[in-house]
Structure formats: structure tokens, C-alpha cells
């Protein structure tokens, strides 16, 4: 029998159905023999249980055992006056607050919110990458606290043959904010006197200004921490850098010829390379082929991803005569750059020195 119908029958036997429900069930029982039998059996069972109860008598010994209790007065309940009840509650509250304040004073920093060392480790690793050691240099001008772009544009002239903002015109009109970026860079570079080739690397080495690098590294870490989509890319890049350090890179000898010649014969085993846009580090990698220095480039960003890049003042590693063979950070194309809008941007590739 259906569970619902069975419960209706049970309630019908107990008089728990209202009049309409009981009438409907009785009418159905007149045409349903099974239902009628169910109701009759249930009624018989109820009578049997009631009869079973009627024939059960407690033993006389129970009365005798209970006799002392029957003749004694009940234990009076201890009534507590309301005022004392409130005083008790207030005392409990005061005690609780006192304990809470004492605990908070002894333990000012909640331990649960403190980040674990494992969570901090990626940030620390990233900071270590950007903490560049100072390079030995004979030029005191390098210690001047100028921005990388400013120093480059003040001291190093734009080669006459190097492409100026002309490529921007080829690519079509830029949005307003991107034009402002270009305009901010162009006048300063055009008014400077040219300098001989070959001094760019020597005079634009990064470690001479550790403070700004540290600052941008922190900003870079913060930007990465706040951008979930960038983290996998960073992890991939760092993983690739680790492989490179272990000599497992698919192109271990890339730029070897350049390294032999660059920077007066000084090789850069695996140096950090960072892409800066508007002074903010937006991408990083390791390189074994790029010379230490600051290299202005023009990048095109679409949907937060670098789709193309080109050097502004000639190929990176130009001064060594290794155009196109040495420093070619191919992984830059397709990389996700945090907080950089779509369009064409003037940027800097800064290659640090990882030598001790």
C-alpha cells in the first residue's frame, strides 16, 4: 500500500483527519476492498494493543517500595530571586569580557590571519630575482639617481638611423592615453645630443641605482599578487628560468657568441631580465644571452598580452655586432603583462647582473 494512503488510514483510525478527508477516505474504502481491509485490520490492532494495556497490572511490591516516597513531602525547589539571577548573569558577562580583553592583550596579533611561510615564499623568490647586485663601474655618473629612461635619453643620443616614433604612424592612430605616453617620451629623446655607439651598455647598467629597482620590484610583486591570471605565467617563466640554470634549456647555447663578446668579454650566465612600462615592472624572465643594461623597446599589447615588440634604438646587443643572434627574449611575445592597457607602448627591457 502506498505510504501516503497508509498514513491516511492510520490517521483515520485515530480521528486525526478532518471531516472532508475522512469522508473521502471512507468513500474510497467502499469501492476498494484492500483499503477497507486495511482500515478494519488497523482498528482491530488498536483494540488489541489497548486490551494488552488493560490486562497489565503493576505488582504490589512496587506500591510497597514506593510507600515511603508517597508519605514524604516533595523536596522544595530552590527558588532564586530575579535580582540575584540578573546579578549572576551580569557577573558572568563581566568575567567573560575581562578574560577576552586579557587574552587579546597577551596575544595582539591573531595567529590565524598570519600568512604561513609557504605563502610568503613566492614573493620572496620574486624579490630576490629583482634585488640586483651592484656592478663594478668606473663611471661615477651611473650613480646618479635618475630613472632608467631619463638617464638613457639624457646621455645617449638617438642614433640617426634608428627608427623614431615613425613606426607608430604606420600602425595607425593611437588612443588618447597611448599618444600621451609617446609624447612623454619623444621630446626628451629628440633634444639630446648623440653619443658614440658602444657606450650604451656601459652607461646604463642597472645596479648603479638599487633603490628604484627595489621599489619597482615590490610594485611588481604587488601587481602579480593582485592579478590571478598572471600567476601561472609567472610560474611558467620562473620554472623555465630554473631549467635554464640547470642547463636543461632547449637552447642552452643561444647567444653564446654574443656572451663571449658582450660587455668587454664579461659573460652573463643567467641574468634577470625585466620589462618596465611607465616605470612599473610588468614581466620578468631570465636570460643567458642579453647584455647588462637598459634597452628601450616598443611593445604592442592586446588583451593584456604582448603580441609584438621591437627595439627602439637598434637591436639589443647592437654594440657587439651580434644583431639578431644574441639577446632575443622570445618569451616576451605571448606573455601576459599586468596592468598594461592595449596599444603600443614605449618600454624598457632591463637586464641585470646575476654575478656575485
Amino acid at each position: 500500500m502506498d505510504k501516503t494512503l497508509r498514513e491516511l488510514v492510520s490517521r483515520r483510525l485515530d480521528g486525526d483527519l478532518d471531516e472532508a478527508e475522512a469522508t473521502r477516505l471512507d468513500e474510497r474504502a467502499r469501492s476498494d476492498a484492500e483499503l477497507a481491509a486495511e482500515i478494519a485490520a488497523g482498528r482491530e490492532l488498536r483494540q488489541a494493543v489497548a486490551a494488552l494495556a488493560d490486562r497489565m497490572e503493576p505488582p504490589e511490591t512496587l506500591d510497597r517500595v514506593m510507600d515511603p516516597l508517597r508519605r514524604s513531602a516533595p523536596v522544595p525547589a530552590r527558588r532564586v530571586r530575579p535580582v540575584y539571577r540578573w546579578l549572576g548573569a551580569a557577573a558572568v558577562v563581566v568575567l567573560g569580557v575581562t578574560v577576552a580583553v586579557d587574552v587579546a592583550r597577551r596575544n595582539p596579533e591573531p595567529t590565524l590571519s598570519r600568512p604561513s611561510p609557504q605563502r610568503e615564499s613566492p614573493v620572496r623568490e620574486r624579490e630576490e630575482i629583482f634585488e640586483l647586485a651592484p656592478l663594478p663601474t668606473a663611471n661615477p655618473d651611473e650613480s646618479r639617481p635618475l630613472g632608467a629612461t631619463d638617464r638613457l635619453l639624457e646621455e645617449e643620443p638617438v642614433p640617426p638611423a634608428a627608427p623614431e616614433p615613425a613606426p607608430l604612424e604606420v600602425m595607425g592612430p593611437l588612443p588618447t592615453h597611448e599618444s600621451a605616453v609617446v609624447a612623454d617620451q619623444a621630446p626628451r629623446s629628440s633634444g639630446d645630443a648623440p653619443a658614440p655607439d658602444g657606450e650604451v651598455v656601459e652607461k646604463t647598467v642597472l645596479p648603479s641605482r638599487p633603490a628604484p629597482v627595489k621599489k619597482t620590484a615590490r610594485a611588481h610583486s604587488g601587481a602579480l599578487a593582485g592579478t590571478a591570471s598572471t600567476a601561472p605565467q609567472e610560474a611558467r617563466l620562473l620554472s623555465q628560468a630554473d631549467k635554464d640554470r640547470e642547463g636543461k634549456s632547449s637552447t642552452p647555447d643561444a647567444g653564446k657568441a654574443y656572451r663571449d663578446k658582450a660587455d668587454g668579454g664579461r659573460q652573463v650566465p643567467m641574468a634577470p631580465v625585466v620589462l618596465y612600462v611607465d616605470g612599473l615592472a610588468v614581466w620578468s624572465d631570465s636570460t643567458g644571452a642579453c647584455a647588462v643594461g637598459v634597452w628601450p623597446v616598443r611593445i604592442e599589447v592586446r588583451d593584456g598580452e604582448v603580441v609584438s615588440w621591437e627595439p627602439v634604438l637598434g637591436e639589443i646587443g647592437d654594440e657587439t655586432g651580434d644583431q639578431g643572434e644574441g639577446c632575443q627574449p622570445e618569451t616576451l611575445v605571448g606573455s601576459i603583462v599586468a596592468d598594461v592597457g592595449d596599444g603600443v607602448h614605449l618600454a624598457e627591457i632591463v637586464v641585470g647582473d646575476s654575478s656575485p
Binding site: D14, E44, A48, A50, V65, M66, R70
Partner: protein
């Protein structure tokens, strides 16, 4: 109300309930004493917020619930099928005489009751043995009234099948 009056009124219901739930006279005797002792102790605090019968049966159920577990006896399995109950219940007498409320039928009902799981047995007994209504049973057992309805229907179905009605 003095304890003597309460005892006179509930000595039979409490004994029957204790006997039904403990399944033997000796344990029912001990259980009845303990229940009445608890009633005596709690009488001074009884303020009439609940019906007296509900209050007394609550005390009884709170003591009898899990009685077998406390005594270290093997718990009855909570079976939803009636086959095991039927197997442990005497065979119903064939013929039309089994329709009558004979002693044989009562024995079979009693045996089937003892085989019911505790939470089914108590609702059948409070309803059909002690004539408590659904609301009172719900209050005694501290369950929703819908639970009382469903358990009662299920318990009666198990009993009917076990007894052979």
C-alpha cells in the same frame, strides 16, 4: 499536587510503559521505581506549563530511552522490513477465530510489539495503550507531530504484517 496522588494516577501507565519497553518484569520494576523517584524529585519544580501526563511520560521516556543500551544488552536492529519481526512472532492461528481478540492474538501482538524498534514501539504504545493524542506524543518524544504520524503509520504496518491481520 502531592506525590501520592500522582503515583495513584500513573502507577499503572508507568508500569505498563516500563514493562513494554524493558520486556521483562524485573527490569520494569526497577525502571518504575527510578521513574517515580525522578517524578518525586522534580515535582517541586513542576509549574504546570505542560500537562501533568505529558510531564510524567517525558520523565519516563527520558529514562527508558536507550534502556537496553545502558544495560549492555544487544540492541534490536532498526529494521524497516517486517520479515524479521514476523520470524520472531508466533504463527497466527488460522481460521476465523483469529479475528477475535483472543488471548492468542494478544500474545502475538505483545510479541510483535517487543520486536518493534524502540521509536516505533513507543508511539504505538502511547497512542493505543495510553490514549495520548498526537500533540502529546510529539511533546513527550520531543519530535515534530509529522514524525509521530509517519512513525505511527509505519509501526502499525509492521505490526499488522507480523501479527498476520
Amino acid at each position: 499536587m502531592v506525590f501520592d496522588e500522582i503515583y495513584e494516577r500513573f502507577r499503572r501507565p508507568i508500569w505498563r510503559l516500563a514493562r513494554r519497553m524493558t520486556e521483562n518484569d524485573e527490569e520494569a520494576f526497577d525502571a518504575s521505581q527510578e521513574i517515580f523517584l525522578r517524578v518525586w524529585r522534580g515535582l517541586a519544580g513542576f509549574r504546570g506549563e505542560a500537562k501533568l501526563s505529558t510531564w510524567v511520560f517525558q520523565i519516563a521516556w527520558n529514562y527508558l530511552r536507550g534502556f537496553h543500551r545502558r544495560r549492555g544488552r544487544h540492541l534490536k536492529a532498526v529494521v524497516d522490513t517486517s520479515e524479521e519481526i514476523v520470524a520472531r512472532t508466533p504463527d497466527p492461528a488460522p481460521g476465523p477465530e483469529r479475528r477475535a481478540l483472543s488471548s492468542d492474538l494478544l500474545d502475538r501482538v505483545a510479541a510483535a510489539m517487543d520486536e518493534l524498534p524502540e521509536h516505533y514501539r513507543i508511539v504505538v504504545w502511547l497512542r493505543d495503550g495510553e490514549d495520548l493524542n498526537y500533540s502529546e506524543i510529539a511533546e513527550v518524544l520531543d519530535v515534530p507531530i509529522g514524525t509521530v504520524r509517519s512513525r505511527l503509520a509505519r509501526a502499525r504496518a509492521l505490526l499488522k504484517k507480523a501479527v498476520g491481520l
